[in-house]
Structure formats: C-alpha cells, structure tokens
Symmetry: C2
Subunit: 410 residues, 2 copies
Amino acid sequence: MAQIPAADSSRPARRGNNLDDVRRNNLAVVLGISHARGRVSRAELTRATGLNRSTIGALVAELVELGLVDEAEPSATKLAGRPSPVIVPREDVVAIAVNPEIDAVTIALVGLSGRVLSRIRHDTAAAPSAEEVVAIVAAAVAGMRGELGASTRFVGVGLAVPGLVRASDGVVILAPHLGWRDVPIAEMLAAELQLPVTAANDASAGVVAESQYGAGRGARGLVYLNGGASGIGGGIALDGQLFEGAAGYAGEFGHTFVNSAGSPCHCGASGCLETEVRRAPLLALLGLDNTRSEELEETLLAHLARPEGPDAAVAALLERQSGFLAIALRNIVNALNPELVLLGGFLGTLYAVAPERLSGAVSRSALPGAGDGVRFGRAELGNELLVVGAALLAFKPVLEDPASVAAPAG
Amino acid sequence: MAQIPAADSSRPARRGNNLDDVRRNNLAVVLGISHARGRVSRAELTRATGLNRSTIGALVAELVELGLVDEAEPSATKLAGRPSPVIVPREDVVAIAVNPEIDAVTIALVGLSGRVLSRIRHDTAAAPSAEEVVAIVAAAVAGMRGELGASTRFVGVGLAVPGLVRASDGVVILAPHLGWRDVPIAEMLAAELQLPVTAANDASAGVVAESQYGAGRGARGLVYLNGGASGIGGGIALDGQLFEGAAGYAGEFGHTFVNSAGSPCHCGASGCLETEVRRAPLLALLGLDNTRSEELEETLLAHLARPEGPDAAVAALLERQSGFLAIALRNIVNALNPELVLLGGFLGTLYAVAPERLSGAVSRSALPGAGDGVRFGRAELGNELLVVGAALLAFKPVLEDPASVAAPAG
DNA sequence: GTGATTTGTTTGGATAAACCACATATTACA
DNA sequence: TGTAATATGTGGTTTATCCAAACAAATCAC
C-alpha cells in the first residue's frame, strides 16, 4: 500500500499561540468592532465577542489608555438595567489617504471614526510624476495639519493607485495612465512623511471600502468590478479583507477574455473585457462629451424612456456590451462562487439600466449552485470610495495590533 | 465632510479568544505539523511553532493521551546534544475515503500517518446510484475492518464526487456523469456508517491533496485544473486549505469562456474550456481507443518524436487546444494572481508535450506582475490523488480541533 | 418608593505558557 | 576512556490571561 510522500518544510508552519497573542487578538477584535460600527456599548461588545464583562472592561480600558477610543456617556435606551458606556473610535487618530489620478491628486485625512476630516483635490496639468505626488502630498498634509487639533496622531498613509501595485513593498509596477513603471512610491512617501505607507491598486482599495462600508456590508465573499474612464479594474474581498493573491495583483477582471473577434488590448492580448465594454462608444452615440458618470446615466435613462423608444444603435450597443459583461461575470462566478458581485462606475450604469438582463444572463449561464446563489448589486460609495478604501489600508496595521501604536504623548 | 455610514451588524463579528482557544489552536498546530511532515522531533516542533520546550512537551503528551500520535525513539542525527523523541501520527486513526465514478466505486482506508492502509475498487455495470454507493461502502468497510487491529478508530468519511457538491451539508446538487441530482449522499452515508461525512467535488479533493502532499507543497496560492474523461474540473487552495467560495462550488474552471465560435456545452453556455479542450479528438487522430492517460501520453510523445515529424493535423490540434487552455489560464492568473498553477490528467499531458509553449503564452498574455510571477507544474499525485484528498477532508475536523475526538477506550 | 433587570466593578480562582535551574543524552576531541 | 560542549527533556515557579461570582450602581415598571 502506498505511502504518501511527506510534505516538505518549505511552507512555514503555523505558529503557536501564547497569551500575548490572545490579548492582541482580543484588543484587535474590540477595536475592529468599534471601528466598523462607529458606536458600540460595552454590553454590545460583550455579546458580540462572547467575552466576559470584566474582560471587555479591561480591554476597553487598555484601548482608552492607548488613545485609540473614548468612552462616552451611555446613550439613552428604553431598556431596564444599568446603562452601558459607549465606545467611540477617536477622531484624532488619523490616516492620510492619497489617490493620484491622471489629472489630479486627491489627499484626504480620515479619522479612525470613519469621518473624512478634510479633503483636497489638487489638479495637475498632466499626469503627475511620483516626485510631484510626493511634493503635493507633503504640502497638502502640512496645510491640513494646521486645521487639526494638537492631539492629532497620524498612524499611516494609504495610497490607491490606478495600476498594478506590488503588495509587499508598494512599488507601482505599471500604471499606464500615469506613465509610471517600477516606481517605489510607497518608499518615497514614507521617507518624506516619516510614516508607514501602504499602497494598493485603486480597485482593491475600492473593494475593501465597499466590503466594509458600502453595498458589500455583511457579504463574506465579494467580487467588485469597476468601469472607469481608463478601463476596468476589480478586486476580491473575503470576510471584509482584501484578497491579494501571491503578490497583490489579484482582481484584474478587466482582462478577462470575452470575444474571439475582439480588438487588441494594450495589455498585449485581445478580446479583453476592457476592450469590448467601454464608455466611449456609448458617449459618442448619445452625443455626449467626456462627462461624469452620473450625467451619462441620467442621459441614458432618459434616452431609454423616450416615448418613441431608444435608438436602435443604442439598444444594440447596450445589448452587446451587457452580453460581454455577462460572459466575464459567468467566468468569475464559476471560478470563485462569490456571494455578491458589485458593479461600479460605467459597469454599474450598465447594470442599472437593466438589472434583470444582466443578472438573469449570468445566473442562467453559470453552473447551478454558484449561479443561483450569487447576488448582484451596485457599488454605493461614490466619491468617498477610494479615499475611504485608502484610509482602511492605512488603518489596517493598527486594527490588527492596536498595542503596536505608540501611546499618545499626553 | 462626509461621515461614512457605519457598518451594520449582519456580518458576525470576530469572536474573542480565551485560554481554551489557545490550547486548542496549539494542539491543532502541533498535530498539523506532525501530520504534514510524518515524523517530527519535539525539538523541531519547538522551533517550528516558536513555543517553549516545556509547552511542546505538554502538548505532545496531550496528543498521546488522545491517542492521535505516538512518541517514538529518537532517530539518529549527527548533531551533538540530547536526542529528541520523534512524534508520529498514529496509523490506527483512520479515515474512510470514498470516490464514486461512472463505472466503479473506490473505497480506501487512510491512516493519520498518510498511509493508504487498504483500498478496494468495486466495479459497477452502470453509474452507481446513491443507494448503491452506500451499500458498497458499507460492505467494503465491514470487510476491511477485519484486516485492521482492534485499536483502529474511524474518525470520519471523506467523499470525492465528480459533480457539484454543496459544502454545508454534502448534498450533490448535480453530478451529470453519475446521473445524480440533489442527492443527500453525505447524510445517507453518515446514517449508515454512524460517522461524520464530508463531501466535496473531486477536483476540490484533488487540489487539497496536491497542495499538501503533491506538486503544490509549499505554495501559498494554488490553482489546479484537471482534464478527465468527463470534462475539466478544478480547485483553489490557499495555504493548504481548500477555498470553497460561498457554498463550496468555487474552482469550476472547466466552464471558462475561451471561444466565441465554440460548441455548445452541456452547462447551457457555449465556448467553454471544457468543450474546446478535450481528449477525444486527439485520441481519434492518434487512432487510440478509450485508453488510460499514461498510454495517451506515451503514444503522443512517440508520435511527436517521429523522424518525419508529427502529423500536421495532430500538431494543429495541439496548437489549437494549447491556445484555448492558455486563454483560460490567462484569465485565472489575472483574476487570482496564484503562485502556482497545476495541471493534471489530459491537461497535464498537454502541458508536458510543450511546457514552454503553454507557460510562455500565459506569461506573455497575462498582465505583468501576476503573469511573470506565476509558476506552472504538473500534478504529481496520480492514482492516490482522490483517495488522499478525500481522506484529508475527513481528517479536517480532527486536525482543527484534536481534543474533539473521543479518547481511545483502552 | 420598591422590585426587577441589566451592567459595571472588584476579587479570587483556574489555566496556559514562559522562564529557570537542573538532569540527561549525545558528539567532539584529547 | 574521559572530559567538555551542546542540545534537549523535566519539574517547579512565575506571569498573564480570562472567567466566575459577589456586590454595587443605574435604569425602568409599577
């Protein structure tokens, strides 16, 4: 009878746990719930975590000591019993969110409470270079610092980049629209701001935000596809956490093959989702210029509602693009069996004009099981999406190990 | 400034940890390493887990008490110092692995040591019904029981089914080649054998086996595609664990879209990988009958090595099928950024005849980052694959919580 | 007010892992 | 053959964690 070969030791074995890990984990759980829900009473924390009342008391006291949360007066309930103090994440624990785009750099300060404290959009004449981004961010942060109280603590920087970003060190491998290639932007920003920097693809930041605060709340397995002016990006979130893959590049659904007779794509292949499903042809048909996506959607819905019915070319284009999108989604559903598929940007519009057409096509063409279990939806975080996603990237180390942040000076 | 909406409470918050959890986790880690490596010294466990010597001593003692491992004499090393006892998983802790196929049911007993203790292939005239499978398994297990010592403990049953299996309750939603639809096979087997039963898709079982014992050892993110007589199945393993998706259906790469002009597939769509890349046309061209895959590969390699070169039709077919496979793999690499892609069965043959052609095509057509980081390989577990994979499914509860198994009677 | 209910607080207890000192078993080398 | 060096098991002690229980406090219902 065969003996199965023994596994080698190349995969590092799971480490053992000690008591420190217990504490660290429990602090992270409590801070995580507090951060996710905004306001929680100690009693709610007790129920959610399954920990003892006294343990929660001690954990919360330590988080207060660390300057990460405040204990506030109990909020009025209609229940009998002693009121339970409310835990709120401190707003003066702040992440810096940065999003360089083709014609602007957006910088925002986001509190641990989830509030966007301030936000600047710095327009640029051309696509900014990495050096320009660093300079713009440094100036913007210096300016915003003054508006905030002296107690403000910056815990890190989160960067959402429209391109491929290596997760391990935050190097931008390729960002065609910015013209970047192998740019160590995270390192550069970290040197300038003296803060830890986490960089990720913009759609990855988006899926994290949607997963925790947006239409993906509560979904355990979430796939996100976003159609922007520059192409189609995407991301995968499992249990609220970004799925990175081996090196951080997972989620590039824009280059899913959907058409044998398709156009060549800048990626080198042809027939990619991104080349077949684009905003531009629709804008041209509707006589629109390079507009915001809200405007496109309004115009499109109005067009479809015309008494004489939609133009044949418009209807055909929608039909064709929905078909290609359905093919890509079918692949994704079969491969990943997600609970929820979220569509943003232009793809959200495509979904919105005929939700049934798209979801029906996918459910019918995907395999039973995965196909009939999946839900579809639109991304709901608009403007705030990338800013919040980037901030979540920056907060991640704190949320995973609250005790690792230096306690406040005072 | 915007306030991000608070997350609702629909996603159950992560639970807190207590000391029991620490112990449970550490027991699982120690047993897991022991199971994966086959033979480990206590000293090696100490280094791998990062735990204290005395803690490892206590954990191992508890596992011995539970009857899951034995402590054996130290094996000779060339190192100075006191020899460290060796921990070996007990062979009389046994899982029952079951694999129903179109023309046979395979039943095997697999020890926690990883050894296949016995194995029966029960041929059937036609595809077996669920009732027949239950009867065959019951008879086989009764027969094999006699061969084993009285100390043998059965911890569970693992079932690898060629079809879609709902992970939560082991119901086979659809197994076209068996003619099963909504069959509660896990429940039926559990009632008969009075043991916990875990069922999964056969490729899912395969990827787990390859990930832990086969060509996927050490890979953190692994994608597996297998070409069998009945189609193409697949699975995803992350850190040695099966990625199930929302309900256990993840990994159906056989229905990836690869050809707009493709044939209709039994799944309802058309142009699926499974319809475009098949064994049958190649067998026909080579004048082979319905042979084993080893035979196909030998014949094919011999044909390609002919002095006059391969037949043009054969070369064209290989080129064509490799091209479609490359398209599917490109999609998968872009979407999941796996570390390793493993090909089994007919797809392994297709890869083996020209590894460079396939891996080169994928690396070039996938996006930089994901494309140039991925490795390709052949699945290396042949006959044992499904049996080992099914057994791993059955052992999973024990490996996750060793203390949950009843201590041996003796 | 009085009682029921819920929750914070305090204290003591159980438990798990770390730490330390010492015993033990092997190799290296004179 | 004997001694030193090295690595590892063993047992007692310490430390940190969470839990359980008793008590105190704050609210609601009547």
